[in-house]
């Protein structure tokens, strides 16, 4: 996983609440057995006018020009601004994979669904929670200014606007540590192999039926 310390990027506004993971990456693309290549199908049903299927040449498909990511000013966006409960629905990690593959490294919203929020951190995507008021203000600013960019400073836990205004955000210290250092969770957990084995031995004593094979 790539480390994340700070970044600056164009902000794309997605003005909808409850954006679900089926919308982020529709199910027909979940048939892939890879982690990459989902970017062209991010928000597929909103982005294209035809029905997307795996294996299509996406560069030849008709675009829905009204969809925000198809507007020239947001083409190179790497920060997504969204409304509340972003990422609700299924646990598919294909959702953050698609966002990352498209080029998004940070998502700002007033709230996120739990599993999606968690999945983002595992893939080097930073979900940032700001208040409804702050998000409202960002939506207004993005609309008002072409090429609107934000600076995201994870170390300092703040967002800096072009006019040098700052918004502080919270982030769990452990998740921050992993993201800043690009650490792999499995490697970290395996430092505690002895604790896991000790727990397991005790559990085997207390609840042996959890360790027996079916009759």
């Amino acid at each position: 996983m790539d480390a994340f310390t700070q970044m600056t990027g164009i902000v794309a506004p997605l003005d909808r609440a409850n954006v679900d993971t089926d919308a982020i990456i529709p199910k027909q693309f979940l048939k892939s057995i890879k982690r990459t290549g989902f970017g062209p199908n991010l928000f597929d049903a909103w982005r294209y006018l035809d029905q997307g299927e795996p294996g299509m040449d996406n560069s030849k498909r008709p675009l829905n020009t009204e969809f925000v990511l198809n507007q020239a000013r947001y083409r190179d966006a790497s920060i997504l601004l969204a409304r509340k409960n972003f990422g609700c629905g299924s646990s598919r990690e294909h959702a953050p994979w698609a966002l990352l593959d498209y080029g998004f490294r940070a998502i700002i919203a007033p709230s996120f669904a739990d599993i999606f929020f968690n999945n983002c951190f595992k893939n080097g995507v930073l979900p940032i929670v700001l208040s409804e008021d702050e998000v409202d203000r960002l939506f207004a600013d993005v609309a008002a200014q072409d090429g609107y960019r934000l600076q995201v400073d994870l170390i300092g836990q703040r967002i800096i606007t072009p006019s040098a205004a700052e918004f502080a955000f919270e982030v769990d210290p452990f998740r921050k540590h992993c993201l800043v250092n690009g650490l792999d969770d499995i490697g970290l957990t395996l430092q505690y192999v002895d604790d896991i084995r000790a727990y397991e031995a005790r559990r085997r004593q207390e609840a042996p039926w959890l360790f027996s094979e079916p009759a």
Partner: protein
Amino acid sequence: MAARTLYDKLWDAHVVRTDEDGTALLYIDRHLVHEVTSPQAFEGLRLAGRRPWRIDSILATPDHNVPTVDRSLGIEDPISRIQVETLGRNCSEFGITEFDMSDPRQGIVHVVGPEEGATLPGMTVVCGDSHTSTHGAFGALAFGIGTSEVEHVLATQCLIQKKSKNMLVSVDGSVGNGVTAKDIVLAIIGEIGTAGGTGYAIEFGGQAIRELSMEGRMTVCNMTIEAGARAGMVAVDDKTIDYLHGLPYAPSAGQWQQALASWRDLRSDGEAVFDRVLHIDAASIQPQVSWGTSPEMVVAVGSRVPDPQQEADPVRREGMLAALKYMGLKANMPVSEIRPDKVFIGSCTNSRIEDLRAAAAVAKGRKVAEGIKLAMVVPGSGLVKRQAEREGLDRIFIDAGFDWREPGCSMCLAMNADRLEPGERCASTSNRNFEGRQGQGGRTHLVSPAMAAAAAIAGHFVDVRDFD
């Protein structure tokens, strides 16, 4: 020890270690695996030269991509086929038990686990699928995880977790006739909203929940995630224990009494404190129908489609307008005037034997209405299918004009060949009515099995209680 909730007890029993900031390493007892969210996890494991920590904790079955028609033809879509075959290869490489497509026990992972007794009280149960919350019906801590976490559990038997807050949803009193577990949970989501449970583990309690069968409790816990909570659970009682007795993975005779003694404590202490408590009057719950593109957009069948102009909050109003447009509905129209094109009875929410019995009771001796293009019944597993056939339910459905299919997720999310065409409307017993969920441009109305069957017969939504 201070009074604890059921969730507190389950959590405490699985903590391997805790960091100062409260991040815990949680031990996982049961890991259920299906074909969609596991290939990248196995690949990661192989790339790192790791092996699964405890293969006897894992049970795998393909469900999302499998065809529901004649299996002897295999899977026509090559990409689906590769995914199902990849699961098979990964399981045989690592020695993991898999109920493959030809196994009579194959089915939707959340139906298979409980019916095998692979889900037991007091367990932590995970699966790369958000509806893993289903298994909480057994007094287990069960929640969905992403693919990175699937790999993490494979490699370490643990997950890195922070504890959630405690919420109690108490459904007080009894529900009326014709009101099912599905109606209870849809009404709860309608009340608290799709983000109402975010950050919480929800315990469902109260008389109406205790009166539900295990199947009904699974239906309620299944949709916990639709209320934003990763885990939902119900305390252990005699019904839990009776259900499990004699199942293949349940404790052997020699260990049964010891297991029972520990399971009896799996309920919240009388003095336990919840961070949030919600009381719902069971008697007020009516059969529900969803009208929009989020599971919180539900109304009682006897009412009308809501009017966005009555909504004060502008973001919500916009959401309602967009939903009505997508669904092709008019504000204020009676729900009973909505006419589905297709009917789907199935999914991990409502494809167990009790669900099929409820639908069959409505379909018996009747015919699917002319206007319905397709009405299908997809049992949750091979075992459910066989049981239904023993009871003659298949004949009732077939005689009424329903399709009787092979088990799998099917049109719940349309990763296989079963799907809605653009603009088609479906009465569905599944759990999600998101845009395009059942096929691009498809329109989903979430209902109970009895309500779905009644809609198939009448050709429009009807209150199953008035159905004669």
